[in-house]
Symmetry: C5
Subunit: 254 residues, 5 copies
């Protein structure tokens, strides 16, 4: 019997991708567009302000490429809050100019690969690790300009079956994976959230950085890592640029 | 010749996923929206009330993420009833504000893996098992807040061919699978329904629980189980939150 | 060199899946709906009547689930007739309330697996076999209530390459497959039609039965058969319930 | 180092699949429909007439099944001409009643598998072969009633990697493939055009014949051929029936 | 531990595919069409002019086949510029007649496979190589008439895992790949840009040439190269013909 790692869960995450209906936008009277912009800005400002009060976090990004125009990222303590955020967006005047392009539901997670001790002797865990884990479970969205989101699963093919490896092998592979991540400390922050049972892939990965070539570099370097090269299966990638809610008008003005 | 397990069938299941056409909803006059809400509530109340009378069960869930907004789950004695439910929904005023996003048709099932005796010596089966099996075949929808639905099939690749294993091996693997399920007794209830010949995957799985992290945990833990890790192929996952028919207005108000 | 089996072809088949545009239907004036219903009933009555005169057969089914609402099945002597049926449907008033959801084009077929003799010494074939083969090539649609349609192909992967087996092996596997089918004699009737070169999969399978759990059972049992477990690849499944053309109004009334 | 075969290229091919917007068609005033029919007929008559003057060929087919209603096939000396044909169709009144369903871009090709000599000692090639190759490179569309189109690629999996075979092996397999084709001489004509670098698969295959069961038979028989059974990967299949431009009205009348 | 190659990055690339809404175009008043054409031409002229000033490059192509009508290619120093270009296009009058069909985001790249020295002893690199690499990182769009775009990834299957090869093996395979490319010097120019972490495949390849059969030939020949035959996975292919911004009217007139 192969053992699943122990896990602890933190905030739930909603990645909400929207396209702008540019035809409707161009055709809208100036006054309606102003109301819509104000509404969008107020909605998002409110979400980001609430978020700062330790109960989650929110940010909005302009997405490059035609798969979406906007990515709203929300972390919250409960799935219910995400459900309400998603529907309350539909009540804004701005929603009329958008269509849902994609979404992703997940929950931030730490597992026994990171620290066995955290699960077996929680009292003995030092403050550094505690803070590290706390940061993983209640992930603040950093101020970095760029974001990359993609979902991933571990393979279960003959000869490449992650779920057939024993715990030690998986822990070793995860440690190697973590080593690559540490090379990018200060350049790339990442949020890993589990979507097993919640969405179509097993994890959602969100990377933040101030230089998009760092995003390219870390994903490329990790692809040579056995945890990815043999066992990783990746979904679609979305790249975006953060903007403050006050800049919805600039975003929509092109 | 490999033997198929014996099976017994109970209620048929329809999982009916709908998106809300929020643009139409926002544009509708207040009066039309009120009628639509009343109609939706009455439709679903009626389905749930009828259902409680031992002839099936029904529930509605708010779906998180953009794949759908609503999931209607209906269990009924016959496929015809499900067919009628699906079309009678289209006669409601509320239907005008929804679009069909997805659906799943299946029939609840117990098989020889659970109890060979039930099929070979039905009179000798004890009451506990009889009740257990009855519960599997006429599955009441529990009051738990959250739902997760996903379809699955067993693999038939070289080296991972479920249908090429002999009965004993499959029964052992299913027993191991059941052991994981029992760890979640009291936390997670599941309905397994066969869709072989009825829909695109071989089974539809519906999980109910009061904590969505339990849903994540049980699916994750089971993935390490050989029945899943080697032989399971999974479709898209949908997660939702139950609400009573009386709350359609709250749901639609965001 | 591997030999293809000899084949003989009979009627061509069109499976025409349609969704109802329920929004348009609800919004249509009562008079227009009446005309549309009459038109649909007349169209299908005419197709079924013509069909009974030994030149084919036709039936219409209500499909459960959101992939389609209606399945029209037409068997005809020529592909041209199917082409005309498909376009003449578009001339009905009812067509305005439907959209094409899916279709399948195939031709009923018997092959050397069923009877080598039929192809090598046709005069020596006994009447029983002749009638059996005639029934396969000019398949009347039985009166059974339920239908299941799915397309399938044979695999050509390393270790699971149907087209790499010699004729005897394939004939043996087909015979085993036929044995399972015979267990369901009286319960399930099936029409197997080739779509090689005509549509996206190699065959279309149509099952008819009065109990949908029999449909589930036969497909499930056959999946353990080596012809399916090792060599079968299946597409999407559609399940429906037959109704007479006179019941279009009942169908549309929910 | 594995050698690619030498190739020579002839006419470019555009397969342009369209669906008819039957709702718009039914709603159009009689006069508009007449103009549209005239326009469609004139457009296609012009294309077919020009084509007969040795600079290409064109034909239109009614497609059976819901994937498309019409298939326009155009062979021309340059890719530019195809690009212009595609856009000039959009200038017709008829285009308003159609939507693009699919397309395929390719270039007719002969390769060293057919004749090594043609590439190494072109002067020594006899007239019969020259004519044969000329026919492959400037393929006239025959008058046969039925057409089948499908794209294909060669596999590159371990154990089934066409591109890893040496030239002789590939030439042998292609010769065996050609033998099957020759059995259908007089019944089936085929045009093979390369789409490597031009469209999503490696080749587009167009079969013409007066009996659609011959189309089924040749594709089925070839599937047992090692070049297909081990190395062939096939896309979607479209089947159609040719009609002269003057019959657009009959086509549209159902 | 397998080493990723070192890389250097240059300009970012946006491939922006659009379809023309021909129905809207046909229905638009002459005056609106003129404004739209002028706007499209001005937009693109401006992008191409700016581009010539060493800060990037831009071009527009007519796409053959129904996957798109137009391909806009933009290379720029920053991802932000591409994001703005994409949105400012939506502000043109012409945008109202287009829909987004597809897009691709990538960044031009040179890697240690091309020159280890460039990364280890940059001062010792001779001017020829420096210019070559500079050309790769700041790729001017050549004046060639035809373009072909496709995305690709390297495989990670058992027996065909690029990321499991050591650096020398990969460098050798890339060198063989480069040899094929050099045969087409003067005929085909190519831009290879990485999309790891940015878009759905690992690289985007853009080929330019004056003869579309050269495009077919180079891709076909490279497919026999082990780097492609064993390790390459390819996405959809788009082929187009360049036109100057002043010819938008000719393009739209068919």
């Amino acid at each position: 019997m192969i053992d699943a790692p122990e896990t602890d869960e933190g905030w739930f995450a909603l990645h909400d991708f929207r396209t702008v209906d540019w035809d409707a936008w161009r055709d809208a009277p100036e006054r309606d567009r102003e109301t819509a912009i104000e509404d969008a800005a107020a909605f998002q400002k409110h979400r980001e302000a609430l978020a700062r009060s330790d109960a989650g976090d929110s940010a909005v990004f302009s997405v490059t490429g035609s798969k979406a125009d906007l990515l709203f990222v929300h972390f919250r303590e409960t799935l219910d809050e995400l459900d309400r955020i998603q529907r309350s967006f539909e009540q804004t005047e701005f929603a009329a100019y958008t269509e849902r392009a994609h979404s992703y539901v997940s929950v931030s997670e730490v597992s026994g690969y990171v620290s066995d001790e955290y699960f077996t002797n929680p009292e003995e865990v030092d403050d550094g690790l505690k803070n590290y884990i706390e940061g993983k479970l209640t992930p603040e969205i950093p101020d970095d300009t760029y974001v990359s989101f993609y979902p991933m699963s571990k393979r279960r093919q003959p000869g490449q079956n992650w779920y057939d490896l024993d715990f030690e092998e998986r822990a070793d592979l995860m440690a190697g994976h973590g080593d690559v991540g540490r090379e990018y400390a200060g350049k790339i922050k990442q949020v890993i959230a589990s979507s097993v049972g919640l969405d179509d892939w097993e994890w959602g990965v969100t990377l933040f950085g101030d230089d998009p070539t760092d995003i390219k570099d870390i994903v490329y370097e990790m692809r040579f890592d056995e945890a990815s090269s043999k066992y990783g299966e990746f979904g679609d990638f979305y790249v975006g640029r953060r903007f403050p809610p006050a800049d919805f008008d600039a975003f929509l003005a092109g």
